[in-house]
Symmetry: C2
Subunit: 392 residues, 2 copies
């Protein structure tokens, strides 16, 4: 039988990049292309003890159906935490638990976008979110990244010229893949522009807690007197991605629609996961765990950046997060470089994977420093250095 697929899914065709990414999961490959937490990042003892106690004291709660909005005590706890630590949340805001922050992006798009509507994103941006937008048949417009965040003049030009903009997607902290942090001035400007042009902002903040130097800047959501910011967060990078627990803080009218959308997607997020996260927040020293993670990843970042300092790769040292964005010299072509690296057992992601509009080009690769072991970091960096030394 010949199958006919929806327009939405047909637009998510496999690409040359996907082929390279496939090769990166081969055994023996040094994983600079991934984005996984380090194995030693997981609070294993805590999860063991929490799971033991939950299944002893409240087993049926762990296994029974939950409500779509999420486990009520966890929702309240995350709301309190966002208010106390980040100054987020107005009386009009509400919070929903999602199956990872990916689902927050999915549900926001589902409730807001018809096919042909426009979503604006930083370019480059997180490929997972871009593909979610594409899966709803929206038209993507890209705003080039600069060293202090997106080009806000270009943003304004797009807002002026496009009539069907439904929201602006941004990762202000330690952006994936660019590693860039948006300046405070630009955060305020982006908020003002969104307000002025009547568009919403989807602020995705998976890496905010992984800050290695400097002061954390206020989230765009903290300016949100007007109810125009949808804030997505996640426990994937600080506790566990495998548990699939994220959340979204947004005006209650939006959360109500996201709840209807989530009911139709997966009914609710794994309740056992939600209970584990809730107990972890209640009984464990999260600030100490975050300090530990920051030291762990900062050391990995420094090992990678130090090793690459003498190569022709150009990069800005990211102040947080998990990724290093490396511009290649003109004479080295990105896809050829990525293929050659994979052939030498180092997986990197070609930068074009993260571009927003079809006409854009880039000559860069994304490297991840959280997944490789220290030995893999040293070895992988040495291999890349050798490639350049051999006048690759």
């Amino acid at each position: 039988m010949t199958y006919t697929f929806s327009n939405k899914i047909a637009s998510l065709a496999p690409s040359a990049i996907r082929e390279i990414l496939k090769a990166t999961s081969q055994p023996g490959i040094i994983p600079f292309a991934a984005g996984n937490p380090a194995p030693e990042a997981f609070p294993i003892e805590a999860v063991r003890e929490i799971s033991r106690r939950l299944l002893l004291e409240r087993p049926v709660d762990c296994l029974q159906y939950g409500v779509t909005e999420g486990y009520a005590p966890l929702r309240a706890r995350v709301k309190d935490d966002l208010r106390a630590r980040l100054g987020l949340g107005k009386p009009f805001d509400e919070l929903i638990i999602t199956s990872g922050a990916q689902q927050a992006v999915d549900l926001a798009t589902k409730i807001l976008c018809n096919e042909g509507d426009v979503v604006i994103a930083e370019s480059p941006s997180f490929i997972g979110s871009l593909n979610t937008f594409r899966s709803y048949g929206v038209r993507l417009r890209g705003v080039p990244m600069q060293a202090d965040g997106m080009d806000v003049d270009r943003l304004e030009a797009i807002l002026k010229s496009e009539r069907q903009v439904r929201f602006l997607y941004t990762i202000p902290n330690f952006q994936n893949p660019a590693g860039v942090t948006m300046s405070l001035e630009k955060r305020r400007r982006v908020y003002e522009l969104a307000r002025q042009y009547g568009t919403l902002i989807l602020e995705d903040n998976p890496y905010g807690d992984l800050i290695y130097e400097g002061e954390a800047l206020p989230c765009i959501k903290s300016f949100d007197d007007d109810g125009i910011v949808i804030y997505a967060g996640s426990f994937s990078k600080i506790l566990s991605p495998g548990l699939r627990v994220g959340y979204t803080l947004a005006p209650s009218e939006l959360i109500a629609k996201m709840t209807v959308g989530k009911q139709a997607s997966d009914v609710h997020t794994t309740i056992f996961s939600q209970l584990i996260v809730d107990e972890w927040m209640r009984h464990y020293d999260i600030p100490a765990h975050l300090q530990y993670l920051r030291a762990l990843y900062k050391a990995k970042r420094d090992r990678m950046c130090g090793g690459l300092a003498e190569t022709p790769l150009q990069f800005q040292i990211p102040a947080g997060g998990l990724f290093l964005w490396c511009a290649l010299p003109d004479e080295i072509e990105m896809l050829a470089f990525a293929r050659a690296a994979v052939a030498r057992k180092v997986a990197v992601v070609p930068g074009s994977a993260f571009l927003v509009e079809p006409a854009e080009t880039v000559n860069a690769v994304r490297l991840n420093f959280s997944t490789p072991t220290d030995d893999q970091l040293s070895e992988g960096v040495a291999i890349l250095r050798d490639m350049f030394a051999e006048k690759y």
Copy 2:
């Protein structure tokens, strides 16, 4: 700010029925409106021991990212099990793990349907699936249910007259809400009609293992020489709904597209849940557990059916599953009856919640017998009996 929502989500507006359902979650209500497993249905000791061992021996595997298709050993195990027990699966078939069977319905619709396409469903049918279809802006056509399954002549008439039919959705075993099992003859006829008219079948089988008398009939998927059946199953009703683990067996070309769609929805299903299910299948006596569940639910069914026998409610005793579909006598109006029952602390679902097309009408209620305790079953049935005795 005034928010504008997508057409898809705007069509999922709250209804009178949703109000009644809200009332049913009040404390002290006898839950004949739910669909939860009984608390005593969960293999708690097994999950305790499995979780303890997994977090001891393979903690990082429980917490790290997984692949979108699902945990490979679990996929292989479920495939083997479906082949061995139900004769399902051809060489062209593949299997994906989903976040509950609800996500299987979501992904099938996502990859197959554009807005305005037609999906055919039994009427009445499972409200969760119907809302998923609606969330993609498809046009629903309903095929009336009969005592031995859908009216296949009506199905053929619809297939003849509609050009944009993307698939037929059916729950052949102990259908929710009608409690009906499709006859073998109709299963073959439905398959033949789908083949003849070039449409796919989405066969949803969450209750197949919960059979209380008679012989299990072959799944429609077992006839699938042509690669036209998408088969969705779930561990929600036999192990735990809170873990959110379902699966879909379908031609690999469809599974590949569902994988792309799932990547954009929630990346992957909770990996800890998948590992728990895998260990449960590997090391525990599932047939014995199913025997236990059948005895448990059969007794609850009999308690409900016995108690309602002397009322004017008309129902067919379901040979399996969790639901009883009760037609009301003409002089009793469904919504008024449901409201009066809620007022007396018995929650029931008005049958109209499950209708497929706007013009359809019905005078029935759905009752669930798995969620209430035995005492609640006796008490709730007595309250309904009293309502009739009082010439309600």
